[in-house]
């Protein structure tokens, strides 16, 4: 099993979710995050106090999938989440040791 973490632009969330749904991924966790890679932030100015805001709002998606599906998931996220401009984000693939369904206690692939 693989655990896939993707950072994408917030307005791309719906598109990515639909793309994942289309290839059979049903479970997804979404978090609102801040961050930056090479994308620069902006300056905010409050009556004499200037703030260099280097963090940009992003969305983090986390999905757990069977290893066989992982490559397709990465491709789906990348295709749906891409705008071609700096700040599109990144996808990380981690090995997943186990998964358990809380309701039934199933483990492994059947819990996904």
């Amino acid at each position: 099993m693989k655990y896939i973490i993707a950072i994408i632009k917030p307005f791309k969330l719906e598109e990515v979710r639909e793309a994942l749904s289309a290839i059979g991924v049903q479970g997804i966790t979404v978090t609102e995050v801040k961050g930056h890679g090479r994308q620069r932030g902006h300056t905010e100015f409050y009556r004499g106090a200037e703030y260099a805001v280097s963090f940009v709002p992003k969305v983090k998606i986390e999905v757990a999938v069977e290893s066989a599906l992982a490559a397709k998931v990465v491709e789906a996220i990348q295709t749906a989440g891409k705008t071609g401009q700096i700040g599109d984000g990144k996808v990380f693939v981690l090995p997943l040791e186990d998964a358990i369904r809380v309701r039934t206690g199933e483990t492994g692939a059947s819990a996904l």
């Binding site: 905010e44 100015f45 409050y46 009556r47 004499g48 106090a49 703030y51």
Partner: protein
């Protein structure tokens, strides 16, 4: 030639803002059984409610939105408690100390305790206005002035926001109210009232109340002896005027113009804010950690409430519902709009963006600056006052803090202090009839009329400057002493842990947002 010299020698007490006159007897021959004017009374009650709204929740929300969310309740609580505490102190002794005759050498600076606990004040007692033989119920004046006393210390809260101990805040407010606010209110606004300046036999009771029985007869005799000689009449009126005004506030008698409180409220609070900001020290993490306003929408709501409420503050300071009140009302709008636009323009030019916070701050700066001027300047002058003050305050807010390194968290000095000073000085300029202002009023007359008092800009500017300097020095010294007392009793600042956690949780045991 002689007459000119006489009238120039002393600035006859001019039309001032929010002053209270003595009305000694319920009925006298001058005005058969004086009765308060119902229209004026109705307006003043409404105006008073508007001023309450300015503080509560106007100022509270304006400041609240500007701090970090972990400190918003501390702001709201400090404003709430300050307001309530001062309201009560006002009726215990504040009103009396500000608005009665003092005694001895201190008389020009503070009143006495004759009306402590509102003794002698009841629904039938009267207060005078700026027109002869026109009265308000005294209670109306008590409350109207109370609301001014309540908002002034609350303004200071912005300077020491996010780090001062709640107990220290309250002790400071108490001391500062007693020794800075009350004397300033007395010095600038306390006068004998318009009816004291009518030197006529029919007005004998008021004349006696003003100068004593012997002098009353004396002056009336001199007036009679002057016959039809205009120069002699002017001379008698002038010396009578001096005598009648002997118990007036020190700055009033210097001819300082302050319609609704540029010196008493804004410079007073602004300078206190500066001293407090310096003595409390900078907030932990200033210029390193983000301290952006947590809710500018709240700040704008507060700005709107301040703006609308200010009509009560400024137009209500006219004490009557007439054309002068309408002028003050109009000037309040124009000063604000001129200022907001000027601040936004300055920001756009220097910073490439015109921010909402800037426009709101500009509006407040305009309101502050037009406060001393609103009843004296013309509408065009009001626009100028607002715009000039906004540009100066914008510069002050940008430059002074980095230059001197103090943390006036919400720019109390930059907006109220500097804005008040600019407004006070410009009042002396734009009151000029040549610049559209209303000019000065001479109340001394042998009848019920008033006349135009001579206006000399340099002399007027000197009067204004003296009031400004007095406010700066008095507030500065009193604030320093009050804060030192706090420092060595309860301590000024919360500890670092508390400051990081946020005052809401640590000092008040609650969270604003759950």
């Amino acid at each position: 030639m002689e007459r000119l010299e006489i009238t120039k020698r002393r600035i006859i007490p001019p039309l001032l803002g929010a002053g209270l006159g003595l009305l000694t007897m319920a009925s006298n021959a001058f005005a058969a059984a004086p009765v308060p004017n119902k229209g004026d009374t109705a307006w003043m009650l409404v105006a008073t409610a508007f001023v309450v709204m300015m503080t509560y929740p106007g100022l509270a929300l304006f400041y609240g939105g500007l701090v970090r969310s972990k400190n918003v309740l501390s702001i709201l609580m400090q404003v709430t408690t300050t307001f309530c505490m001062i309201a009560i102190l006002w009726v215990l002794f504040g009103y009396s100390v500000a608005f009665t005759n003092g005694s001895g050498a201190l008389a020009p600076f503070v009143g006495g305790f004759s009306k402590a606990f509102l003794a002698g004040v009841d629904p039938t007692t009267l207060a005078t206005t700026f027109s002869k033989e026109t009265y308000l119920p005294e209670y109306v004046y008590v409350i109207f002035q109370m609301t001014f006393a309540c908002i002034t210390p609350a303004l200071i809260i912005g300077a020491f926001a996010e780090r001062m101990k709640f107990s220290a805040v309250l002790i400071f407010m108490f001391i500062w109210f007693c020794f800075s606010y009350l004397p300033m209110a007395h010095m600038v606004w306390w006068w004998a009232g318009p009816d004291a300046y009518t030197l006529a036999q029919a007005n004998l009771d008021n004349i006696k109340a003003a100068v004593g029985d012997a002098s009353a007869t004396d002056f009336l005799a001199k007036l009679a002896a002057a016959g039809a000689d205009k120069a002699k009449i002017a001379e008698v009126l002038s010396s009578y005027s001096d005598a009648a005004g002997a118990m007036n506030g020190w700055l009033y008698n210097k001819g300082a113009l302050d319609f609704a409180g540029g010196t008493v409220v804004h410079i007073n609070a602004g300078v206190a804010g500066l001293v407090a900001a310096i003595m409390c020290g900078k907030r932990i993490g200033l210029n390193k950690e983000p301290m952006a306003p947590h809710n500018l929408v709240t700040t704008l709501i507060g700005t709107g409430l301040l703006f609308v409420g200010w009509f009560g503050f400024n137009a209500g300071s006219n004490l009557e519902a007439n054309g002068s009140a309408a002028l003050a009302f109009l000037n309040t709008i124009l000063g604000t709009c001129g200022a907001a636009l000027a601040w936004s323009a300055a920001e756009w030019v220097t910073r490439k963006h015109a921010s909402l916070l800037g426009a709101a701050s500009g509006a407040v700066a305009g309101l502050v600056a037009i406060t001393p001027a609103c009843g004296f300047v013309g509408p065009m002058g009001a626009i100028a006052v607002g715009a000039i003050a906004a540009v100066i305050c914008y510069t002050a807010v940008l430059k002074l803090k980095p230059l001197f390194g103090y943390d006036d968290a919400l720019d109390v000095f930059g907006v109220h202090g500097i804005g008040g000073m600019v407004g006070a000085i410009l009042t002396g300029v734009f009151v000029s009839p040549a610049l559209g202002g209303v000019g000065l009023v001479n109340y001394a007359a042998a009848d019920n009329t008033t006349s135009v008092a001579p206006y000399v800009m340099s002399a007027q500017l000197w009067s204004q400057s003296q009031a400004v300097l007095t406010a700066i020095i008095l507030s500065g010294v009193v604030s320093f002493i009050a804060l030192t007392i706090c420092k060595y009793t309860v301590g000024l600042r919360v500890d670092e842990q508390t400051e990081r956690e946020g005052l809401d949780i640590a000092e008040h045991g609650e969270r604003a947002f759950n």
